[in-house]
Subunit: 309 residues, 2 copies
């Protein structure tokens, strides 16, 4: 009998659902538009139906399949309570008991965590952090998220909201952040932070280009574009060097859309990391791109919440 | 039969040795001058003899006593290897296999960690962090040390050197630090950091007063002295707010000589902490003084390495 887990990655725009086996193969994958479901019950109804269809289609191919549970990666997830709490980018307001809704609907266990913590669990279970007991995963998308593993366990913290590295203040009195404070790391190091830096360097640009467009311009040699990536990497490397002083990881993995820029981002990051690192730590901590295939990573991460538990 | 542990706190100047029972009572205590033993073997010989004498005197009082092991808190300790490595403040050069030396001498188990990690274990075993799974201990002495507990376990990190919060860079290009870099937290927040701040405010002071003298001057209303503590607390509170983003602790405990200044330090620390904390975390994280009696704390901390293992 094959044991499988359903991984659900919920984003503000899209939700991806896949079935994952214990060796980390994504067996089936399907999507729906999160925004089309202002009522969370209808969302759960539809997503559960997709999972059941996927399980059913697998049963046609194999003798026996057992759905071990459902793992969900979602913004503003409280892993202790199984809830999504006041998520600004989702239309479901207040505190939503999402894990309970899925568990009841599918009569199975359901666990939930935020997307960056799911990414860390995915990297540990199926990616390049296999066998590591102390590492960091930094997700670089619209914002900056992080998952911290120490002593072989993901750190959730007292309230379940550990790992908010995007909201470490790196420039007191610096850029205005969505959290209401100033100078948070993600206002500098993220897709939106990169765009802000680029527009500061190039204030005459009529419209804000995307991080991807800035990367393309950098590849063609545009000075401001190269400098925007350099400054982003410089700030990231500095912050990672400071982060090492907390948990002394074996490795740091970068994940998410921004890392598609490759060495444009990695080189200044590593240079600044090496320059700012305490001597004790020098030489043995490497910064790698995530080893998970980008299109599968979010579903693998979500599924790994169950495989890790 | 009473089980006991010997706790050894090794400092650059003094070493304290005590026997501790499982409920955290320091049954006997004795000291020696670390600097009188340039040869580590003679140090171990003498310290082991003191332990044996203490155990022997207890046997006279009780029917049966069993020495469960030896726990050592020492600077530059590598908990994984049981060694002290290149400690600048000790006369033993290079890599000293201290745990092994004691284990052989006393035919028992011996574990070693740095003093800040020992303080965190002591607080968890015998102090105010009893029953907590996520907390920080910050030691404020000549430097700034820290012990981070998450998921109920002390974080040692990949190499055993996690928790170097004193060397998080808080002011890029700031004060010169003993580690060779600039702007490390402990150059601002520590007894020496406080004195530096005081002398910046009051450059005409003929000789550098101690942190204790500055506290006395603040109590008599001296403006520069009050301001030096205020700035120290402000920087500490800011850094603790940033630290929360990593492990989301339930509480933060301050420990060490500097906390004798009481509200002079705690008030600006809490004010700055509250001001800089991410909204998510507000309201439930408290900053407390350590609950361990200062004269026993180091020995209790060292002993708790064994009681926790």
């Amino acid at each position: 009998m094959e044991e499988i887990v359903a991984g659900i990655d919920i984003g503000g725009t899209n939700t991806t659902i896949g079935l994952v086996n214990e060796s980390g193969r994504v067996l089936t994958k399907n999507g729906l538009k999160t925004k089309q479901f202002p009522d969370v019950n209808q969302f759960v109804e539809t997503a559960a139906q997709l999972i059941q269809e996927q399980v059913h289609s697998m049963k046609n191919e194999m003798s026996e399949v057992n759905l071990k549970g459902v793992g969900i990666g979602a913004p503003n997830a409280n892993p202790y309570k199984g809830t999504i709490e006041n998520a600004p980018n989702l239309s479901w307001q207040g505190i939503v008991p999402l894990a309970e809704l899925f568990a009841k609907k599918l009569n199975t266990i359901c666990k939930i965590t935020n997307d960056a913590k799911a990414a860390a669990l995915g990297e540990m279970q199926f990616g390049a952090a296999k066998g590591m007991k102390d590492f960091l995963v930094i997700t670089l998308g619209t914002g900056l998220g992080s998952g911290i593993v120490a002593n072989g366990s993901l750190i959730y913290g007292y309230d379940g909201f550990a790992g908010e590295l995007g909201h470490v203040i790196v420039v007191p009195g610096g850029r205005k952040c969505g959290c209401g404070r100033n100078g948070c790391l993600e206002t500098y190091v993220s897709a939106t932070g990169l765009v802000r830096t680029y527009l500061e360097l190039n204030p005459h640009d009529a419209e804000a280009p995307s991080a991807r467009v800035i990367a393309e311009r950098a590849q063609t040699g545009e000075t401001h574009a190269i400098e925007a990536y350099r400054r982003t990497g410089e700030m990231l490397g500095f912050s990672l060097a400071n982060s090492v002083a907390y948990t002394s990881p074996e490795a740091i993995f970068l994940f998410g859309g921004l890392i598609r820029a490759g060495e444009l981002l990695f080189k200044p990051t590593r240079d600044s990391f090496d320059e700012n690192l305490l001597n004790n730590y020098k030489g043995h901590i490497h910064i790698y791109p995530s080893a998970l295939h980008e299109s599968d990573a979010a579903v693998l991460g979500a599924a790994s919440i169950l495989w890790n538990s």
